[in-house]
């Protein structure tokens, strides 16, 4: 029997963020659907609503024209909606069979027979009696899939399934998914990887900032068209005057930056080499999750990588921590302003004291010099037009834009030679974005350099002098930004190549 899943006007609002804004979509069995979007676009929220983990503020879900009430994961199960999450829900120390039998309704004997049938049918080779911790990521995922198949699902939702898989495991997964599809299971495939969408899926819905921005047949799409839909391609009118100066000094030079992590949710970085000239803005584009987090932390000194050389103003700084790097006049503005760049529970002046640079005298002989910190904070508040002059205010009462101004102010008041920022305007309103863009342009005018890591193509084209793209932990060649078009960036961001 054909399955028809319809989502109608779903909205979900979290404090300060609209995760799903009036989302309507329709899916029919016999096809594989992709739900594409960047991190934070609202895909996961939608999936959680479909699987009953959270309830929407508004909207309805229909399965074969029956209105579903999904108030717990159990409801999703009853209605034959199966779900494989990105992070596995398995008991590592129990055997595969024990994991599968936990919520089974039949006796072990017939369950084993049914599992073996599934293994045979889909050509899965998994030993049912080994503990799950001995399995590879791909095998664990198969266990999760078997768990869904045991309930003969009508709908199977896969959330970022390939993020922990090897290339070969990914291929195997795709073969299985196509088989499921032929058998009439409706498959919804959630991802931010463009190539996978093109090679696997029949239809693709793109989400951006909580909204569905396009629904189309994948055969009509290319990597770059999807990338543009995903990140938004409105080009700004104000553009910085690009300066390409060949004879300027290289102020910052990175050589052989490699990063290897055991954590499958981190991205490895492979041999990055780049340099920044005096007064220049180097933009690093890319779809989030391609290594930007790791790169920022290595540049700021939170992660120290062996055998990397980072030269800043003719000094080797690769082994220094963030505080020491600040003393050489570097400054950092991380992506996560609420739990990393500032502490919401601390007062404004205490957050200012986090940048305890050498000449600040914030802490003389180990003692807090509150007067000095407060004076300094007042100056930041007025110089960077934060809408308060009360330095005793807890930072949690500042809006995102004002908090970001405070953070930038704190980092810039030391007149650093190099500012490294990561998604500095993420989640801000237009006014704050403009202010921050103007500030970043001003820094370059004063012959100070910036590295701008951003997932916002528009922002990068507006602010950078040269741009490179990071994809799967590898950096493309660095291009002068007047030679770059959004289309070119789109191709590189999707893993394609130009020229």
């Amino acid at each position: 029997m054909a399955t028809d899943l319809r989502i109608s006007n779903i909205s979900k609002i979290y404090p300060g963020c609209i995760a799903n804004d009036n989302v309507s979509l329709q899916f029919k069995s016999g096809k594989i659907y992709a739900l594409l979007g960047e991190n934070g676009a609202g895909k996961s929220t939608l999936v959680k609503i479909l699987s009953g983990v959270i309830s929407p503020d508004n909207g309805e879900v229909f399965l074969n024209e029956k209105n579903l009430k999904l108030s717990s994961p159990l409801d999703a199960k009853k209605n034959k909606i199966g779900m494989v999450f990105q992070h596995f829900n398995l008991f590592e120390t129990l055997s595969v069979f024990e994991n599968l039998s936990i919520d089974a309704t039949e006796d072990n004997k017939s369950l084993r027979v049914r599992i073996n049938e599934i293994l045979k049918k889909y050509n899965f080779s998994i030993d049912l009696d080994v503990p799950v911790l001995n399995l590879s990521a791909g095998q664990k995922q198969k266990v999760e899939i078997i768990r869904c198949l045991l309930r003969s699902p009508k709908v199977l939702i896969m959330d970022e399934p390939t993020s922990v898989l090897t290339e070969q495991e990914t291929e195997e997964l795709f073969i299985s998914l196509k088989k499921f599809c032929d058998e009439g299971i409706l498959i919804i495939y959630i991802t931010h990887k463009l190539k996978e969408v093109l090679s696997l899926c029949d239809e693709v819905a793109v989400m951006r900032k909580g909204k569905v921005v396009s629904v189309s047949q994948t055969q009509n799409e290319k990597v770059e068209t999807l990338a543009n839909k995903m990140v938004g391609q409105k080009l700004g009118k104000i553009k910085k005057k690009i300066k390409i100066s060949k004879n300027k000094d290289e102020i910052f030079k990175v050589k052989h930056l490699n990063f290897y992590s055991d954590d499958p949710f981190e991205t490895n970085l492979v041999n990055l080499n780049f340099s920044v000239k005096k007064g220049e803005c180097l933009g690093i584009a890319g779809i989030s999750g391609n290594g930007q987090n790791e790169l920022f932390q290595i540049l700021s000194g939170e992660i120290i990588t062996p055998n990397t050389s980072i030269i800043f103003r003719n000094k080797e700084i690769a082994k220094l921590n963030p505080k020491q790097r600040r003393e050489y006049l570097m400054a950092f503005s991380p992506e996560d302003r609420i739990s990393q760049a500032a502490v919401p529970e601390l007062k404004i002046y205490e957050n200012v004291a986090l940048n305890n640079f050498k000449s600040s005298n914030f802490f003389e002989k180990g003692l807090v010099n509150e007067r000095k910190i407060k004076e300094h904070s007042k100056k930041i508040l007025s110089d960077f037009s934060v809408n308060t002059d009360n330095v005793e205010l807890k930072s949690q009462f500042l809006s995102g834009g004002n908090l970001q101004k405070l953070i930038l102010g704190r980092e810039l008041i030391t007149a650093p030679e190099l500012l490294i920022c990561y998604n500095p305007t993420w989640g801000l309103d237009v006014g704050a974005i403009n202010y921050i863009h103007e500030t970043l342009i001003k820094i370059n005018d004063q012959e100070k350099s910036t590295i701008l890591i951003s997932t916002d193509t528009e922002e990068l084209l507006k602010l950078s002098d040269r741009i490179a793209v990071i994809y799967k932990g590898k950096l493309s060649k660095i291009m002068p930004s007047d030679e770059v078009t959004p289309e070119k960036l789109g191709i590189l961001m999707g893993g394609g190549s130009i020229d």
Binding site: E302, Q324, D336, S339, Q340, N355, V368
Partner: protein, 363 residues
């Protein structure tokens, strides 16, 4: 059909006054809860509570006992506040107390037949160092081997208790002690001076008060205190600011261990005067309650240590006058913690009950 939706939301702004007032609410609730328990056991609640909370401190001797028991609780809790404020969960203060007492007691035994003004300071320093070293074990394992400090520090409590057991039964037992599991009595120069004749409260209380003042200064007026505060609120931020995380873990554990070690030394050179198996009625564990009841604030901890000390005394009086086991003291301590955590939850979160008609959900 009506659906009840219960939603739990975080409160954005909790007034500071209310934050420091909730411990009092917890204490009042504990007294009410205690009354109910006494009633269920067949006692007149008012009378039982009077035996518990008033009789013990109705005379000078009782008051001195109150200070005597509050001294180690206060000292240990002050040390623990450094750890807890920076997100390091040192649960093993009892072990650090024991080990401090072993090292300090060892020095006292070296001088068992000698007198001299220098002996007591030596013992005190030895005790602090002993506690510090013992606290360094979980700290080093945490920083360099990524172990869980809760488990390691807790398990080390039993290690130190067994070492003490071995020493008082074996090599350090009193040669003239008829094989009782205890050491020689310490010499007079090894004992804490008593503050008043006939009362047991001793000079250790000044060490505790000094610890309160010093810790207030360090926590609120120094760079170290600032780093501790930031790391406790957000480790990510501490890393981003470039604080030396590992060094800080070692420092807070050392401070905490030294305080516990001092408390141990205070006990053996104060009321006890020798080493034996029962040098502490779990002061090291109870001090965890004291630290939280005092809101990890040095002056709050003074108050909290007096309250919790009273539950020890009350339990003893209740045992004498009402013939109920002195473990009721632990019941009261447990209730205080329970009510404190419960009122904190209501303080930081609000529970909203929304009732919606089912057909309203879609619109």
């Amino acid at each position: 059909m009506e659906d009840l939706l219960i939603r739990i939301e975080k409160r954005n702004d909790v007034p500071t006054t209310l934050y420091f007032f909730t411990p009092f609410i917890a204490i009042i609730l504990t007294i009410i809860g205690g009354g109910i328990i006494f009633y269920a056991l067949g006692f007149n609640p008012a009378e039982a509570l009077k035996f518990y909370f008033i009789t013990p401190i109705s005379n000078l001797y009782g008051f001195s006992e109150l200070l005597l028991k509050a001294t180690p609780l206060c000292l240990i809790a002050i040390g623990l506040s450094f750890c807890f404020k920076s997100n390091n969960w040192n649960i093993g203060a009892e072990g650090q107390l024991t080990f401090g007492a072993i090292v300090g007691g060892g020095v006292a035994l070296l001088f068992y037949n000698q007198e001299g003004f220098y002996i007591l300071p030596l013992i005190i320093i030895a005790g602090a160092i002993g506690g510090m070293i013992f606290a360094l074990i979980p700290a080093i394992l945490k920083t360099y081997f990524n172990t869980n400090e809760i488990l390691v520090s807790l398990m080390l409590v039993y290690v130190s208790k067994l070492i003490l057991d071995y020493l008082v039964v074996g090599p350090w037992s009193n040669p003239e002690g008829f094989n009782f599991p205890e050491t020689r009595q310490f010499s007079d120069s090894s004992r804490m001076p008593l503050l008043f004749d006939g009362l047991r409260v001793h000079a250790g209380i000044f060490i505790a008060l000094a610890a309160v003042l010093v810790s207030w200064f360090v926590l609120y007026k120094t760079y170290l205190g600032f780093q501790i505060k930031v790391s406790g609120l957000s480790l990510k931020t501490a890393k981003y600011a470039g604080f030396k995380g590992k060094t800080m873990i070692l420092i807070v554990f050392m401070i905490s261990g030294a305080c516990a070690g001092l408390a141990g030394v205070g006990e053996i050179t104060g009321p006890i005067g020798q080493l034996h198996r029962m040098i502490s009625p779990d002061y090291g564990f109870t001090a965890i309650i004291v630290a939280f009841l005092g809101r990890l604030n040095p002056f709050g901890i003074i108050f909290a240590s007096l309250v919790v000390s009273l539950t020890y005394l009350g339990a003893e009086t209740a045992q004498i006058f009402l013939q109920i086991p002195q473990y009721t003291g632990q019941v009261f301590q447990g209730m205080i913690l329970f009510f404190l955590l419960a009122s904190d939850y209501l303080l930081f979160f609000k529970v909203k009950i929304l009732s919606l008609k089912k057909n309203e959900l879609g619109h």
